[in-house]
């Protein structure tokens, strides 16, 4: 059909505009003057809600998504149950404090709820969405509609839902213990949950702005990492969970007095913040002072208003087109680089770059050495991988320092710690091309065997796993108890077998179920839900098999049987790995479309 015919017969709306006048036609240069109606604004908001829904739904419209749905069907109820348990716990604590005449201590539960909300928002974010709301600013959306959209859609994060549940549970707990307070408690909890949610939106709107550059994200991740590790250290060192193990360090009376002093000094200030205000409000209502309760509610609402104002300030700036991202800064870098390309460095063979030289000397084929060198660079530039490696070692260190070293079954500390540390490494092998994205096509264009590419990537996984194992061994030996030779050999062999089995599955999942990793998103997960579940499941299964062998050897009082059993396990795993590797070329070529669909066609 010719263009003229299309324009004449089918593209009639361009002309009809002029005739009907219902929409200003293109050849009138005076701008449209009709006011933007409330109906149109509502239609916009509905369209955005519908867009989010379709993105979520269509996210399952790809090959292999059934597996992800199954994985979600398994993990979501587990996390939901855990969330419910925490909520019930919060409600139970509120009920206990209220019924035992310590209503003022409900404030502690509220502070816990507040802290958990921030922790979950940092660690969980909004899983399953790739929606960037800043894309909406190109449409004729009012500034206040944009602020509303940013507030509303961000508010439905798992953390905020969790906090809403906890607040409800606290309200119910207080109401059950003191039925006369039910209306006060419920209103206070609604205000508290709303303030919490708005506070979170405010913080993250600004954090997003600060985290728009890679350097800032790395610093932020380091701070969060240090904070998480610090809490773990405090927990195991001072046994904050309340289980007073004889080896946990008790807080000395001097330290306790100091801590209490700090707490009492800070208390008046903490009471001015939303959790304190709501706790005090409940106490005031209970003591027959409803005006003080209303004052506390009003103060909390004032906080919510201030949080919202700060959130709106940031969002409106975003609406006006403020950009702080690396992409924007990239304009500068690209321009500065223009004309200064060093063609010599661009054509250096990859095996001559960092890491490759050493591998090349070991007689490894050049293509494997080149991919290995590239992987080393990738790992070096991915702070997420770094923390995934360091965190288990530190946790092993803390645990060894306190509880595990003195446990009756201390001989199992090393294999247990090794299995735990592998959980951090193994998922990386289940999405080997995730960081490369569209660049993974290079392997299909270059004169390389795909088998070699997988070997190089697996070498990195094995290297990381054994660096991890070495660190764990050093920690356990120096701080805790040195494992016996039989246990050491058995553990190392078990790790090798586990790696070979998981790498076999991981290589296939990297092709059939890859996940594009966006380094610009702090909450970006390292693998698809099914891959993550599989990787952890395989490590657990393998750990169960290994533990079985160790227990049998211990039962027979012949520990040397354990390494022998592990040799057999290792040989079996090697056969599985080798067979997997032999068919990986064909498998990858058969499934390359699935791979490219996820990694290369991101719009």
């Amino acid at each position: 059909m010719s263009f003229a015919r299309i324009c004449g017969a089918r593209f009639v709306w361009l002309r009809r505009q002029a005739k009907s006048g219902e929409v200003r036609m293109a050849n009138e240069l005076s701008p449209a003057s009709e006011a933007w109606s409330g109906k149109q604004v509502r239609a916009q908001l509905l369209a955005i809600a519908w867009l989010r829904w379709r993105i979520l739904l269509n996210g399952f419209r790809r090959k292999g998504s059934v597996g992800d749905v199954v994985a979600l069907a398994i993990t979501v109820p587990i996390f939901a149950l855990m969330g419910l348990a925490v909520a019930v716990g919060a409600g139970g604590a509120a009920w206990y404090y209220t019924s035992s005449g310590q209503l003022e201590r409900v404030t502690w539960v509220l502070w816990g709820t507040f802290a958990l909300c921030q922790f979950l928002n940092i660690n969980v974010g909004q899983p399953g969405t790739k929606f960037d709301p800043t894309q909406l600013i190109r449409f004729p959306l009012r500034a206040r509609s944009y602020v509303f959209v940013r507030l509303f859609f961000g508010i439905l994060s798992p953390a905020n839902i969790m906090v809403a549940l906890m607040s409800l549970a606290i309200g119910v707990g207080v109401s059950v213990a003191l039925p006369s307070l039910w209306a006060y408690a419920m209103l206070a909890m609604v205000v508290f949950a709303a303030t919490n949610a708005i506070f979170t939106r405010m913080v993250f709107a600004w954090v997003d702005r600060w985290l728009s550059t890679r350097r800032a994200r790395e610093i932020f991740t380091a701070v969060i990492f240090a904070g998480s590790m610090g809490i773990q250290w405090l927990n195991v060192t001072f046994n904050l969970s309340g289980k007073h193990h004889h080896h946990a360090q008790k807080i000395s009376p001097e330290h306790m007095a100091m801590l209490l002093n700090v707490y009492h000094q800070a208390l008046p200030w903490l009471n001015l913040l939303p959790p304190g205000l709501m706790g005090n409000g409940l106490v005031a209502a209970h003591s027959g002072n409803p005006m003080a309760y209303v004052g506390d509610i009003a103060d909390c609402l004032l906080f919510a208003l201030v949080f919202f104002a700060i959130f709106a300030l940031r969002t409106q700036t975003e609406y006006r087109g403020e950009v702080f991202s690396d992409q924007a800064n990239g304009v500068k870098d690209a321009t500065e680089r223009t004309g200064r390309v060093n063609t010599n460095s661009a054509i250096l063979p990859a095996q001559m770059t960092m890491g490759g030289t050493e591998v090349r000397r070991l007689g490894v084929p050049p293509t494997i050495a080149a991919v290995f060198a590239k992987e080393i660079l990738t790992v070096r530039r991915n702070s997420g991988v770094f923390y995934a490696l360091v965190a288990p070692v530190l946790l092993v260190l803390f645990m060894t320092m306190t509880r595990l070293a003195s446990a009756d079954n201390a001989s199992y500390v090393f294999p247990g710690a090794l299995a735990y540390s592998l959980i951090g490494v193994v998922p990386l092998a289940f999405n080997s091309f995730g960081l490369e994205g569209a660049g993974s096509q290079f392997y299909f264009m270059a004169p390389v065997r795909l088998r070699d590419v997988f070997i190089a990537k697996n070498m990195i996984n094995i290297l990381l796993a054994y660096v991890e194992a070495g660190a764990v061994l050093v920690v356990v030996t120096l701080v805790g108890k040195k494992p016996t030779a039989a246990m050491l050999v058995a553990s190392i062999l078990w790790a090798a077998a586990t790696l070979m089995i998981t790498l076999t599955f991981g290589n296939r999942r990297s092709v059939a179920g890859p996940k594009k990793i966006d380094l610009g998103r702090t909450s970006s997960k390292q693998a698809s839900p099914l891959s993550a579940l599989l990787s952890i499941g395989l490590v657990i299964l393998s750990a169960a098999a290994g533990a079985g062998m160790l227990l049998v050897a211990q039962y027979l009082k012949e520990m040397w049987l354990a390494p022998i059993g592990m040799v057999g396990y290792c040989a079996l795993a090697a056969v599985v790995y080798w067979r997997g590797l032999a068919s990986i070329e064909r498998y990858t070529l058969e499934h390359r479309e699935d791979m490219f669909q996820e990694l290369c066609k991101g719009k």
């Binding site: 263009f3 299309i6 324009c7 089918r10 593209f11 709306w13 361009l14 505009q17 929409v23 200003r24 036609m25 293109a26 050849n27 009138e28 240069l29 005076s30 701008p31 449209a32 933007w36 239609a43 916009q44 509905l46 369209a47 955005i48 519908w50 867009l51 379709r54 993105i55 269509n58 419209r61 790809r62 790739k130 894309q135 909406l136 600013i137 190109r138 449409f139 004729p140 959306l141 009012r142 500034a143 700036t317 609406y319 006006r320 087109g321 403020e322 950009v323 800064n329 304009v331 500068k332 690209a334 321009t335 500065e336 223009t338 063609t343 054509i347 669909q597 066609k601 991101g602 719009k603």
Partner: protein, 272 residues
Amino acid sequence: MTSAIAAHSLSRTFDTFKAVDNIELAVEPGQFFGFLGPNGAGKSTTIKMLTGLLAPTAGTISILGMDLISNPVEVKRNIGVVPEGMALFGKLTATEYLHFVGRMYGLDKQVTTQRTTELLEFMGLANERKKLIGDYSHGMGKKLALAAAVIHGPKVLFLDEPFEGVDAIAAGTLKSMLQGMIGRGATIFLTSHVLEIVERLCSHIAIIDHGHIVANGSLDELRAGVRAKLPAAADGAETDPSARLTLEEIFLSIVGGEAGSPAHEQELNWLS
């Protein structure tokens, strides 16, 4: 007469780097305006500022006589944009996407549905309407982005590399459509590295380099300007005035093209 697009003292700075430095632009109604420049010159930054996607560090922007900063909604109602990277939603189908865009521009459901059908057919995407956009080829994505940019009948159209990756047949159809819009009085602001297309379509051209507008005018004006600066032939003969400079020659003359120079060839002499 009010300019369709007017930018005054427009600047954008990233940290200490000035991507766009104090530029002046005036595009008259009905013009097909080409905006050219080498990579990293500031083209996309300018187009982002003109469409409200990026806030200027300094300066004012007026579209159809309306200030963009104080009337963003009214301005956006009257413009269509094919942005750099297309900004499509990969997890929607083409039909879903155009429906969404139509609703965002205030069209009612019936009109949106009708125009979606017409545009998909016109762009040759009717058979692909149920496919996820993420599975589209680059060229198909460009066509869909253009369909989304015109669904509300904009008076001013901003196109950032609209022909990149589009096949020759589709490019011809799109060019005809754009010329048709110009014929009906619309204004088009186009950036492209395909200088032949710009030369054929655009009546006026501006060239930006290192954030500065280094040339602005009709093609004939640019030609005359470049010819005036050209040195006399080595043998002292006058340059043939009837020999028309192509836009590529004008462009290279203004921004200083070095590709193909003996120095470059020498650096890459390892190429067979």
